[in-house]
């Protein structure tokens, strides 16, 4: 072995070792690295029962209830498979609306998630307002039933419609559901380990 080969092997070895150690460490901390749980994961008992955690999902259209004269708001968060009612009192981010992806931090009590913070999750799609309008309308009227979720359509979904998981969706129209289906696809098929 020439000295140069030796150095190459050492550098390669360091890189492999660090990569392996990082992979193992990340697998060990898998659950702690989850920024939020979706309603299906909570249903499956993956979320901690005795401490605060985050729930992520889409605000089900038609479920936002505000108490007049206060900041209190109740809404239902869904991942299109399971739903969970959320109760919150405080200021909501600008992007909060029906059909928006949200992440709430708080505690689960008697089937209701009491949030102390609500954040909006943005998706990776950008479009001018007029394009968004023209895409949204045909989707609302024709394919709402099959996509499982259509933005801002009060006709779709009560708290627990149990709508099927989103099927392949037309570009942009299904964007809000897509951002959470990405999370679905990475979840281990075996559920909690």
């Amino acid at each position: 072995m020439t000295p140069r080969r030796k150095r190459l092997a050492v550098v390669g070895g360091i890189l492999l070792g660090v990569a392996a150690a990082t992979t193992v460490a990340m697998q060990a901390f898998e659950d702690n690295l989850l920024y939020f749980y979706d309603p299906s994961q909570i249903q499956a008992g993956m979320a901690p029962a005795d401490k605060k955690f985050r729930i992520g999902g889409l605000v089900t259209p038609g479920t936002i209830q505000r108490t007049p004269g206060s900041l209190e708001v109740r809404f239902v968060v869904t991942d299109n498979a399971h739903s969970m009612p959320v109760s919150y009192s405080g200021l909501l981010p600008d992007l909060f609306r029906e059909g928006q992806g949200v992440i709430a931090h708080g505690r689960l009590q008697n089937g209701v998630f009491y949030a102390d913070e609500v954040l909006a999750k943005h998706d990776e799609n950008y479009m001018p307002p007029e394009v968004a309008k023209s895409i949204k309308h045909p989707v609302n009227t024709t394919t709402a039933g099959t996509t499982g979720y259509a933005p801002e359509n009060p006709a779709v979904g009560g708290p627990s419609t149990g709508a099927p998981p989103p099927s392949p969706q037309p570009h942009a129209a299904g964007s809000l559901a897509e951002q959470f289906s990405t999370a679905d696809s990475i979840r281990k098929p075996g559920g909690p380990t």
Binding site: T22, Y35, A120, P128, A183
Partner: protein, 249 residues
């Protein structure tokens, strides 16, 4: 090893010093044109976003900075490894010159993201996988620079910091894939999204101009900085004294 002659020639400081000097305007001028065009297209011509309004325009600075901060670290680690394995001093100079540029891009990425996060997400900062790993990247850059400065001997500084650069490179794929591996607050890729970019052409073209402009700007900055590194490292070399002689006289 005849095929390696170009490589060895490039690695000779006087040769590289000259090439980098010639190359600088050829990188800097297109970079300036692309950035000015991209920023004008993005901030003035592109339509507002349907949800975010004008706040989305931060993407024209945020996304290219994020991309460059990752690319710079990868180049820094490759240069450090080349320097370590083949004992090429110029490669260490390239790594050392890249670090502050990459750190600046990482900082701009975090700062602009935070400014956008407050009105859009509702928070300046969250300990989400993407945000946290990007912050670690900034700390790796700062650690690399601090480690270099901790040695008086340049050769020892080169070797010690090279190991840190190589070890830290595992963070690069973690940052890139963090939004897919874990549930995160940060959205996924827009430009390289599966099934085409999640953006219409009038928004996308200025963004791509910014991407290429920022990348060329990195090239220009690197040339200038490596020349500076070479001057420090070769300050006693004969070729440099010859080069400086007419001006000194």
């Amino acid at each position: 090893m005849a095929t390696w002659t170009w490589f060895h020639k490039l690695a000779s400081p006087p040769h590289f010093y000259r090439i980098a000097g010639t190359l600088t305007p050829w990188l800097a001028i297109p970079a300036a044109l692309l950035i000015v065009g991209g920023v004008y297209g993005g901030l003035v011509r592109a339509p507002a976003d349907y949800q975010q309004g004008d706040a989305f325009r931060i993407v024209y600075v945020h996304a290219p900075s994020a991309w460059l901060s990752l690319m710079c670290y990868t180049y820094m680690a490759i240069a450090a490894a080349v320097g370590l394995i083949w004992r090429i001093k110029l490669a260490h100079a390239v790594a050392a010159a890249t670090a502050p540029i990459g750190a600046s891009f990482a900082f701009v990425c975090l700062a602009t993201g935070s400014l956008w996060g407050k009105p859009m997400w509702g928070t300046w900062w969250e300990w989400d996988a993407r945000l946290t790993s990007q912050l670690i990247l900034l700390f790796l850059y700062l650690g690399y620079m601090a480690l270099r400065n901790a040695f008086d001997d340049l050769q020892r500084a080169d070797r010690a910091s090279a190991v840190l650069a190589i070890v830290g490179v595992v963070n690069v794929p973690i940052i890139h894939f963090s939004v897919y591996w874990w549930n995160s607050l940060h959205q996924g890729r827009t430009v390289l999204k599966e099934g085409g970019p999640g953006m219409p052409p009038e928004m996308l073209i200025p963004l791509l101009m910014c991407f290429f402009g920022f990348t060329l700007m990195y090239g220009a900055l690197l040339c200038v900085r490596v020349r500076g590194e070479v001057l420090i490292r070769e300050r006693n070399a004969a070729w440099l004294k010859q080069l400086g002689a007419p001006r000194a006289a």
